[in-house]
Amino acid sequence: MSVKRCKTGKKEEGLKVLTANRLIDGRPVWYSTDGNWSRDINNAAVVDNQQAWSCLEQVGRKAMANNEIVDAVLIGIIEHEGKLYASRLREHIRAYGPTGSCT
């Protein structure tokens, strides 16, 4: 069980957050500053160096082993006007939901 690292855009390479899907319902969650898994990407703990990435990877491995979450992955992030945005569209859609209405 390992935590993957997602491709990031070059400029934002340093800023990362840890995301996963919650085991019970599959909803995307982000590891947050208060040590819990939040449903809101804006609560995510943002880290910017190798040591902190490794710490987050460890958190992800532990949470997977505890069956709280699945598929933990470190993703690149952009901070803009106080809000967090994932670098990749895929992750952006995970964070902010499908881009159209439901029907």
Binding site: L23, D25, G26, R27, V70, L89, R94, P98, T99
Partner: protein
Amino acid sequence: MYRYDEFDKAFVAARVAEFSDQVKRRLAGELTEDEFRPLRLRNGVYLQLHAYMLRVAIPYGTLSSRQMRKLAHIARCYDRGYGHFTTRQNIQFNWPRLVDIPEILSELADVEMHAIQTSGNCIRNITSDHFAGVAADEITDPRPYAEILRQWSSLHPEFSYLPRKFKFAIIGAQTDRAAIQLHDIGLRLNRNAVGELGFSFYIGGGQGRTPMVAKLLHEFIPVENLLHYATAIVRIYNLYGRRDNKYKARIKILVHETGFGQLREDIDVEFAALKRSERYDLTLLQADIEAINAYFCTPDLENHPNGRDTLVSLRLKDQAFDCWVDKNVTRHKHPDYAIVTISLKAIGGIPGNATAAQMDIVADLAERYSYNELRVSYHQNLVLPYVALQDLYAVYNVLVASSLASANIGQISDIIACPGLDYCSLANARSISIAQQISTRFSRPGYQEKIGEIQLNISGCINACGHHHAGHIGILGVEKKGTELYQLTLGGSAGNRCSIGEITGHGFAADEIVDAVETIIHTYLSLRIDHGEPFIDAYRRIGMMPFRQALYGTADKTAAE
């Protein structure tokens, strides 16, 4: 319709109990995700971008009002109030909680439905003609044979761990409405010179990253030998199909690498051995076929000889109704009846999506006007197979009130599209938003009618669930340097003249692709012989060059790349 016997009931109930226990053990931490993943996939449960996704089988696309109501109930109580009908005649729920899935499966079992064979490397849910049993051009109803194949393949111990997934499609009509040549095995029922019923077997078709049109393996296998021959093919595939590389594991690659002649020889040897086998008798007895046939008998359709006159006068009075009949109503084998296709392609809507309320309304319509029966087409629309001509106007009015009366079957807004990057974890680009923009772009009155018959298909990645290879216009979403890019193909076709689309040239950005489609349409409109020449015919006549010229300013393939 087929009704479960004791065996079906028992095995579905056993599977629900087994999976419920597996979910419980997973939630309790007794199973790891690596252990659980193959188990959930065997029960149609995927983990997508926003939640788990449950894919429910609708065998050969046939379901009852009662079953449709159950799907609506599941959408309402366990999901977000809608479901997505797929290009394999199934339905997907995008938001169920893992913890609720055992209960959902148990509710489905109450109406003889399940999620078995909707995932994994097994023989998948068998697809068929959505007009089966009612089409005017039909030789015989293929569904009894689809049901026989379902029973044969369900949890077949020998074929539960194939090199890759394996897809069958079966038709019994002249017109191929099930894209049989894009399946691992495509079956066409026909009669030989002395009137006996049998199957033409096509093998090695498929889409994905290596699209191929299936080849005719055998012109005529008598119905009694259906299972011998199907077993022989799948057995040879199971033996020789590649397991070292999942991109080369489908039977189409085996056909390609082994050589068609050699593979046919291997299959024929196996076929002969199976026919001789006393231990493993797969002969279909006439009595067994008749027993299954009985489930699919045409209901006693009352005659309504005045229906035609009523219809003619209503069409004259109501232009919108006239247009809807023209596009969405197909000739039935009974002269007083019609087949109604309910479009799930509202302008600006999501192809294949229906709300719980719409599902209930369609179930009510089927109950009242279509002998309780419904179909799902691989084009992601719904079908009422038995509507009396005299009832068409009543059905239409209910559809209008429910936003289900889009008169666009076979038009440019009748788009086949997979969920793409809005939901699917494998996607590279969005499909839905492109479909929405295209249908909106062509929605002004008269535009679609002017363009005429055309099939536009969109996939969000090379897996091709949106059948882009088979679209007259195909759009494939890819990711390039972190952004969505859309590759165009032209000339694909899924019907009797099956073909794989050819790439036009370099791809287009998300904000360019709709303009590019319109450029193709304008080119077609300017070059077609007349309104009677559909897009695909015009393309076959004039080829790629004028389209490439219009898109890239050059007719040269390399320069356009």
